[in-house]
């Protein structure tokens, strides 16, 4: 187990050390202490190592993550896991806006609440939020699964492409071209798998599914009012 004191030794040293790890490294367990809300912690990692951040972070924690297993024992600022490609990130506290933005893969778990624009422009990432999410979540979401055990704010899934949205609680309002869809066995299976990986007790049957009505896929003058 390696401990890195961010306040004492600085961000450059941390990211350089973590990014230098190869898949067969023997330095696979890292503790980061004194994060003090700093930005860009553990970004650009590319090895199946385990990193635990003890405290809360600023923007872009775990940005562009590949393969790494990152756990934050605190809350995170805007853009956690932005553009993540693979790996697993667990936030024990809350996440600020843009959580999982444009992520291509991997799993992001938020045990508290996520703020606005959760999953914006997601491109294949899976996001599971134990609590609530804020407004404009899943805006232009292209692919992947967003699972919300609590409630969702205004304009969920505005301008949605093919991402799947599952919400157990209430949805304050749906965005343009986002509609409720039927839950079929394959969706229950996906949800079941994600909830288990996300350490959640919620039952798939309690969720509703939302997806794209696909009316904006090709411009139609008579649907002009949606623009």
């Amino acid at each position: 187990m390696l401990t890195y004191d961010l306040a004492a030794d600085g961000l450059r040293g941390l990211n350089a050390a973590l990014q230098a790890q190869s898949p067969d490294t023997n330095q696979s367990q890292w503790d980061v202490i004194n994060p003090k809300g700093s930005h860009a912690i553990a970004v650009g990692l590319n090895a199946p190592i385990d990193v635990t951040v003890h405290g809360s972070t600023g923007y872009y924690c775990a940005g562009m993550n590949q393969q790494a297993n990152i756990r934050v024992k605190g809350s995170v600022g805007p853009g956690v896991c932005e553009n993540m490609m693979s790996g697993k990130v667990v936030i024990e506290g809350d996440a600020s806006q843009y959580a999982g933005a444009t992520g291509h893969g991997g799993l992001l778990v938020i045990k508290g609440n996520a703020s606005s624009r959760c999953g914006i422009s997601m491109k294949g990432i899976d996001i599971v939020v134990h609590g609530n999410i804020g407004h404009m979540s899943a805006f232009m979401a292209q692919a992947g699964n967003l699972v919300v055990c609590g409630d969702a704010g205004d304009a969920l899934g505005d301008s949605l492409y093919e991402a799947r949205l599952f919400v157990r609680g209430s949805v304050k309002s749906l965005g343009a071209d986002c509609i409720e869809k039927e839950m079929r066995p394959e969706h229950i299976a996906i949800l079941s798998d994600l909830l288990e990986k996300a350490e959640s007790d919620a039952k798939p049957e309690e969720f509703k599914r939302y997806g794209s009505a696909r009316k904006l896929y090709n411009f139609d003058v008579d649907k002009n009012t949606t623009y």
Partner: protein, 298 residues
């Protein structure tokens, strides 16, 4: 674009440290705003007395002479306490508006930064650390305060481009974001008799709130109407005699973090600004909802 900090103390024993805590929070936000910085502190008040914080380019050595002139002209006791380029004028409350008339007529080089029972506003061009140092902010005490670091968007980097802006007695405003209809609004407010000094969009926001309140609206109502009348992106933090308020525009892209414990309510543009506050690890930390007015008062 900018960084905002705010601190509202519930625990009176922390009041002597207000300036120090606020100053530290502000310096953490330096990256967000390297151009200028300002702070509004709600400190000591004396019954029947008003305070004006004034500023003059390069300070004035002859504040002593000014003190005598003004006391004679107003036929009242007044004292001027200089602080770098600023000074606090302490005067009988019922003479405050006459004082302002005399200042603007006879001493146009003296800017009034704030007026009220307890508020003092200090702001200048420069890094937050430098601004805090020159005004000895760390030594100040009070019940609440707000601070701001500025990255100028569409107006010049000058003293009067810095925040906080006074919006009325014991009231002030800081802003993070960019208003898109500030020019039209500036012209409208100017036609309605409101004096606006700079090209800064925030000053327009502040003037708008002042104008709304002069028409009989409460601050809360003025903030509600700002959601309709102001266009663009904004996180506003307003200071009042009793507390502070927070408002984010409906799109809510500019960041805002609140933290509350039994001892205080704190605001920061980034969580980083709050990390050294006492008890922050166990604080309730959350983000204000868009288009919702939040208020805390003593």
């Amino acid at each position: 674009m900018c960084g905002i900090v705010g601190l509202f103390l519930k625990d009176k024993s922390l009041e002597p440290k207000l300036g120090q805590m606020l100053s530290e929070m502000l310096i953490t936000m330096t990256d967000r705003g390297p151009d200028s910085a300002g702070i509004a502190i709600y400190g000591q008040e004396q019954k029947g007395r008003s305070k004006l914080t004034v500023q003059s380019e390069g300070g004035r050595e002859d504040y002593a002479a000014l003190q005598n002139d003004l006391a004679a002209a107003l036929e009242t006791d007044l004292s001027i306490t200089p602080n770098d380029t600023h000074a606090v004028i302490d005067v009988a409350a019922d003479k405050a508006s006459e004082l302002r008339t005399i200042l603007s007529a006879q001493h146009p080089d003296i800017r009034v930064m704030s007026q009220g029972d307890s508020i003092e506003i200090y702001k200048e061009v420069g890094l937050p650390g430098a601004v805090s140092e020159r005004f000895h902010v760390s030594a100040m005490s009070g019940s609440h305060g707000i601070g701001h670091t500025r990255m100028a968007t569409e107006s010049a980097v000058t003293t009067d481009g810095a925040h906080p802006y006074s919006t009325g007695p014991d009231q002030c405003l800081v802003h993070n974001g960019s208003l898109s209809n500030h020019n039209a609004l500036r012209r409208k407010l100017t036609r309605n008799g409101i004096k606006i000094e700079s090209q800064n969009d925030t000053e327009v926001g502040a003037a708008y709130l002042t104008w709304k309140m002069s028409q009989g609206n409460s601050l809360g109502e003025a903030l509600e109407s700002s959601l309709k009348d102001l266009d663009g992106f904004f996180t506003f933090v307003v200071g009042t005699k009793d507390g502070f308020g927070v408002l984010r525009d409906p799109i809510a892209c500019k960041p805002a973090v609140l933290a509350e414990t039994d001892q205080y309510v704190a605001f920061g543009s980034e969580y980083r600004a709050l990390v050294n506050l006492p008890g922050i690890e166990d604080a309730r930390v959350w983000e204000p909802e868009p288009a919702t007015v939040y208020f805390w008062s003593h």
